[in-house]
């Protein structure tokens, strides 16, 4: 009896899918919004990178959601790992002088490159997420390569993480009172196209995201290393 009901339900669903697929026109472009982004994005947001103009210009509310998801993931990991007792140090092999010196030498350039990526997010490819991930990978190199007990500064990480989120939300709330009065509207002057100080609030938001993502991802790595 149950199998017969299941088969009937499947037939009904299949019929629905087939009829609705027949209604859809294939091969014709209906994405008017994509054309709008490509043609008007440059003058409406002032960002030279169209991906950035979509991510932080038109769809900045979605970006706020993404940042929140990453934040919740970091919090969840911290809450789970805080309940596990810390193991005493295992006898690990000390890294050779060449490896640890190389890591210490490479750490500042990688950090600088990450900062470059998110500061120039509105001009060149990349942005807050990519820059933050590169900064976190610099910390990974430090943790894996250098044997010395080097840890990230706890308060510095917490401050940059919360300040990043706060700046993002506060800029969005200021947008509610000035200009066109919607959340995260671009109320600052656009400036000269394709220069560093242009595109209004987009560079500020990307710098905030870069700090936040970098602090969160390196905190995740720090928590995992601490438990192992």
């Amino acid at each position: 009896m149950r199998k017969i009901i299941g088969i009937i339900l499947l037939i009904i669903i299949a019929w629905g899918i087939i009829t609705s697929l027949q209604e859809m026109p294939f091969g014709t472009s209906r994405a008017k919004v994509a054309d709008h982004y490509i043609n008007k994005g440059r003058e409406e947001t002032g960002a030279a990178n169209i991906v950035t103009s979509v991510v932080v210009g038109y769809r900045s509310l979605d970006t706020l959601g993404e940042v929140t998801v990453l934040f919740l993931a970091a919090i969840g990991l911290g809450a789970v790992l805080a309940t596990i007792k810390r193991k005493e140090d295992r006898d690990t092999e000390k890294a050779s002088l060449i490896l640890s010196t190389g890591c210490r030498f490479l750490f500042p350039p990688i950090l600088l490159f990450g900062a470059y990526i998110f500061i120039h997010g509105h001009l060149t490819p990349g942005g807050g997420f990519q820059g933050g991930a590169i900064i976190a990978s610099a910390f990974v190199l430090m943790y894996l390569g250098c044997h010395e007990e080097k840890k990230i500064n706890e308060t510095g990480s917490i401050i940059s993480e919360s300040l990043g989120g706060l700046v993002f939300v506060v800029i969005g709330l200021i947008g509610l009172t000035i200009g066109t009065r919607y959340f995260l509207n671009n109320f600052l002057p656009k400036g000269e196209f394709n220069t560093l100080l242009s595109a209004g609030i987009i560079p500020i938001i990307y710098i905030a995201i870069g700090f936040k993502v970098g602090a969160e991802l390196s905190k995740i790595i720090d928590l995992l290393m601490e438990e192992s």
Partner: protein
């Protein structure tokens, strides 16, 4: 152009298959890191530098680090 892309795809497939067959889990993680790195280069050739950057930094660096930490906590060789 098509030669470079096809070479990248073949190398990616080889790395993915070898990641499945390795008994040493550390080698398998490095092979999957290779897949991410080649995918990043492929994204760059497909004119998506933003995605390539995210793939290279997250897929190749951070995920590999997390797996290496997990292997350090568990066993290195598959039975």
């Amino acid at each position: 152009m098509i030669l470079i892309v096809s070479f990248l795809v073949v190398a990616m497939l080889a790395a993915a298959v070898s990641a499945y067959f390795f008994k040493d889990l550390l080698s398998a993680v490095i092979a999957s890191c290779m897949v991410s790195l080649l995918a990043a280069v492929l994204f760059f050739f497909l004119h998506a530098p933003d995605v390539a950057m995210a793939e290279a930094s997250i897929g190749a660096a951070l995920v590999t680090a997390v797996f290496v930490i997990a292997i350090r906590r568990t066993k290195r060789y598959e039975e």
